[in-house]
């Protein structure tokens, strides 16, 4: 992976409707694909809040067979590495989808959505799901984790032991907003996944914790909207950042964030963003050492 690559967060871009935006990324991550087609949740599906937004899309997707047949061939022609996000409701779901993708040359990487807040969760742990996926594919495997856990480093170590190659940190976190008139939930499915600027410090803490806990490549995401944000995630230990909510208001964000990150790096005396990776913790360590 190139120094601080820029990806999209799964579910935040349709490369077939917006190919120009997809081509401006270092890799395109698909919307989560499940074994069977899903219509998704009833509208309203999103609501803006004071410091972010809630969504409850509900993994609307054509199912793995429809995806491989109808979506993957045109995606392969974009000229951008394709990461396929995989979801399911049991370990066998993850294994069956990964096995089908293992045969697809166009798939560069598989990202396991282990943490969608908008559907029922699989009964197995993240590590068990990762283990099942690992047994089904030799493709590079990333585990997308939820920030809604007391000790994300523990989950990171468990999925690392299960054989994943990287971490996508983090998914949205469950939230609720009420309609000001009716005082009923504003979303069709009541609760949804919270994203945007308010998620950024939470995501940054997750990257920070996991970078210290495991030796895995990390894609940082959660409210990244500028080069400065990407710089923070890089300094906390991420090798790449993914853009989510910002793509809704600014489809040109990938090129902008990349350019801003370059300027931010040079302004701080670093030749490239790669030199900044993990520096937050290194600086902290040296500061303690000098104090002693």
């Amino acid at each position: 992976m190139e120094p601080t690559s820029i990806l999209n967060a799964s579910g935040c871009l349709d490369a077939l409707v917006a190919p120009g935006v997809a081509r401006s990324l270092d890799a395109f991550v698909t919307k989560t694909v499940t074994p069977l087609p899903r219509e998704g949740n009833p509208p309203p599906r999103f609501i803006e809040t004071e410091a972010g937004m809630l969504n409850s899309i509900g993994l609307q997707n054509p199912g793995i067979e429809g995806f491989v047949r109808d979506h993957l061939p045109p995606l392969a022609e974009l000229g951008v590495p394709i990461w396929v996000s995989v979801g399911g409701f049991s370990a066998s779901d993850y294994a069956s989808v990964c096995a089908l993708l293992d045969d697809c040359e166009a798939v560069a990487t598989v990202e396991l959505n282990l943490s969608c807040p908008n559907v029922e969760e699989a009964p197995e742990t993240a590590a068990e799901l990762a283990h099942a996926a690992r047994g089904a594919t030799s493709k590079p495997l990333y585990a997308k984790l939820s920030p809604a856990t007391w000790d994300i480093a523990e989950t990171a170590r468990a999925v690392a032991d299960a054989g994943v190659d990287g971490l996508s940190l983090v998914n949205t976190i469950r939230g609720l907003a009420l309609d000001p008139q009716t005082l009923r939930p504003g979303l069709g499915r009541d609760v949804g996944g919270y994203s945007g600027p308010a998620l950024r410090p939470i995501a940054l803490a997750c990257v920070w914790a996991c970078a210290a806990a495991v030796d895995l490549t990390i894609v940082g995401m959660g409210g990244v909207a500028s080069g400065r944000d990407a710089l923070d995630f890089t300094a906390a230990g991420a090798s790449a950042v993914a853009l989510g909510t910002i793509l809704f208001s600014d489809p040109a964000a990938p090129a902008r964030v990349r350019a801003e990150l370059g300027v931010e790096s040079i302004d701080r005396g670093f030749g490239s963003p790669a030199a900044i990776r993990g520096i937050a913790r290194k600086e902290a360590t040296s500061a303690v050492a000098s104090a002693e």
């Binding site: 409707v17 120009g20 899309i57 609307q60 208001s249």
Partner: protein, 236 residues
């Protein structure tokens, strides 16, 4: 800021920062005129995503008028985002993305425009493109009905009368925009009508899957499939 050609499916979709030229009150609504910049006004019924100052997400607005060098939007200040847009002062600049979605099919022989409330927004530009066909407009109150001034010559009713009461026996090619009950009534009276629907949108270009409407038992993104849907593609 330089404009960006974003290849968002449709050709000529751009995002630019545009300055407000004027902001006029029209009844309870605001007609916001922006400089056009390098943006294409598109086909009547298409929409633009307007940055709402201070808010996270832009707001979808269909184009109301396209005078030379300008893009004009009719905005109903119903929430924080639309109020921020109505409060723009002359020379304030916002990011605008568009034109987006599918507009009206203009190859009609006997057009009749029907609008309800803020749903009249795309009709002035549509009327201009069709050479000023007959128009029927319905509003909640006399004050809302002041917006009929944007469509000279239109027949206007105010509640409790409904705009669909004015539909002739053989309405011809109906092109309509308004609240869902109005569109539903038109579906029953004018099979084959072109109906512009409305839904909250976070992105406007197919990315978020937030604006789905039910079409033939499936959830389809209104920003991609619409906002203008033919009656045959309408709700069951």
């Amino acid at each position: 800021m330089a404009s960006d050609d974003l290849s968002l499916g449709g050709a000529g979709v751009r995002r630019e920062r545009l300055a407000a030229v004027s902001s006029e009150r029209v009844g309870p609504y605001t007609l916001l005129r922006l400089e056009r910049g390098g943006l294409d006004p598109g086909i009547p019924g298409q929409f633009f995503m307007l940055e709402a100052p201070g808010r996270l997400l832009p707001r979808p607005m269909s184009l109301c008028l396209a005078p030379p060098g300008e893009l004009a939007f009719l905005i109903d200040p119903i929430g924080a985002g639309t109020r921020a847009l109505c409060d723009l002062a002359v020379a304030d600049a916002i990011h605008v993305l568009g034109p987006l979605g599918n507009g009206f099919d203009l190859s009609v022989t006997r057009p009749l425009l029907v609008g309800g409330g803020i749903g009249i927004a795309p009709l002035p530009y549509l009327s201009e493109a069709l050479g000023g066909p007959p128009s029927l407009l319905g509003f909640r109150t006399e004050r809302h009905a002041e917006a009929a001034s944007l469509l000279p010559g239109a027949e206007v009713v105010v509640e409790p009368r409904l705009v669909t009461e004015l539909l002739p026996e053989d309405p011809g090619d109906v092109l309509a925009c308004g609240p869902e009950p109005m569109l539903e009534a038109i579906r029953n009276r004018a099979p084959g009508a072109q109906l512009a629907s409305e839904a909250p949108m976070a992105c406007g270009y197919g990315a978020c899957y937030g604006c789905v409407v039910e079409i033939d038992g499936r959830y389809e993104r209104l920003c991609v499939a619409g906002p203008v849907l033919s009656d045959s593609a309408g709700k069951d």
